[in-house]
């Protein structure tokens, strides 16, 4: 293993194991300008739902792995709005090519946040590749997203979020998280979710 890989793996190992709901709440508390948030399938969007309803949130009920591509589409359509994608490690591993696409398209207003607990938590905690040797920050950087970093702790996570709000991206933030299950689940109402999101983005008029 190269020195560089050793250093990167050490950065991942040294990152504090945090809590997804706590970090999601911290993220949402920083959003003051109707930023869009795409919550990936499963626990990523359940905790986004639990962190409080926002008209600019889109909750994915299927299409595993597509939070970042959906967020890219939103970011291209509305370049003045900041857009966040929230994904789990299992979801992100399904669509690694999208990181290369995002690096090349280089939307300045897009941030991908990955919650990494090294497991497919919702299906029985089977291990993902990130429980082994894979490092998602190294992968994102290798795909060409220069602004890729592990959040070392909660304060560092907030610092990275503020940087993503203030400076040009694209950004990739990974956080190690524990196996706590969300307290709430998103209602399975895709058309309602989509309509609320489109109204929240000003694409459809308010009712």
């Amino acid at each position: 293993m190269s020195d560089r890989t050793d250093r990167q793996n050490a950065m991942k190992r040294n990152a504090k194991v945090m809590n997804r709901f706590d970090l999601t709440t911290r993220l949402v508390s920083k959003l003051k300008n109707e930023e869009a948030v795409i919550g990936g399938i499963g626990h990523s969007n359940f905790d986004l739902w639990g962190a409080g309803r926002r008209p600019q949130n889109f909750y994915m009920l299927g299409s595993m792995g597509l939070a970042a591509p959906i967020a890219l589409g939103v970011a291209l359509a509305q370049p003045k709005r900041r857009v966040f994608a929230l994904e789990g490690d299992g979801s992100m591993l399904m669509q690694l090519g999208s990181l290369a696409t995002i690096a090349n398209v280089a939307p300045r207003n897009l941030t991908i946040i990955v919650w990494d607990n090294g497991m497919y938590q919702i299906t029985g905690a089977q291990k993902t590749a990130t429980a082994g040797r894979a490092d998602l920050v190294e992968i994102a950087r290798g795909a060409g997203i220069v602004g890729s970093a592990w959040a070392n702790d909660e304060a560092d996570f907030e610092r990275l979020v503020m940087r993503a709000l203030d400076e040009d991206g694209p950004w990739f933030i990974a956080a190690r998280i524990d196996g706590t299950a969300p307290k709430q689940q998103t209602p399975r109402e895709p058309v309602t979710i989509k309509d609320a999101f489109m109204r929240g983005l000003g694409v459809k008029p308010a009712w």
Binding site: L66, P69, G73, L76, G97, T101, P190, V191, L201
Partner: protein, 179 residues
């Protein structure tokens, strides 16, 4: 944005890709995300050279559908270009995102594996395309004639947006003239 009810003046399109581009412009479809195919090459080249369009390649067709769905929800009309084998990877994203949430994801598929294709893999996968579209209830039209091309693309885009539903346009070798 051009009025949805005011198509550009009727004229003969010299090529199928000119007819497609005219219909995309008439309907303000500005985002083109593709996974390439030889048949699609003149269309990809033409939209890439035209400032009206934002054009880029995706690593995978499923990713491209996700991008176009996100753009559609945020007010930017887009279309995915792909070949038959790429469409065969899309059942889950179409079912669980575009159909479930009623998002007008537009797709253009160059039909490989028929009318003389020498690739057996293309021929087999081609037979899955229309049954998948039918089973998902997705509006689809096969384009075979140059004189109908603009009409089919134009009307399909309008219906997709007015009914908030995905739609697929299949480019037959009868239109595109290649294997």
């Amino acid at each position: 944005m051009p009025s949805a009810d005011a198509p550009s003046p009727i004229k003969a399109d010299a090529t199928w890709h000119e007819a497609v581009i005219r219909a995309l412009k008439d309907n303000d479809v500005r985002l083109v995300v593709y996974v390439p195919d030889n048949v699609l090459r003149p269309l990809i080249d033409a939209v890439s050279a035209d400032d009206f369009f934002t054009v880029f390649v995706a690593a995978r067709e499923e990713e491209a559908v996700g991008i176009v769905c996100g753009a559609a929800m945020a007010g930017l009309r887009g279309i995915v270009l792909m070949q038959t084998s790429g469409f065969a990877t899309l059942a889950n994203v179409l079912a669980s995102l575009a159909v479930a949430a009623q998002i007008p994801a537009l797709m253009m598929i160059s039909e490989r594996g028929t009318l003389g294709d020498f690739q057996i893999a293309q021929a087999i996968v081609c037979r899955t395309m229309r049954p998948v579209l039918e089973s998902l209830g997705i509006e689809h039209h096969t384009m075979t004639r140059l004189d109908e091309a603009h009409f089919v693309v134009d009307r399909t885009i309008k219906q997709a947006y007015k009914t908030q539903a995905p739609a697929a346009l299949i480019l037959s070798p009868l239109l595109t003239g290649q294997r």
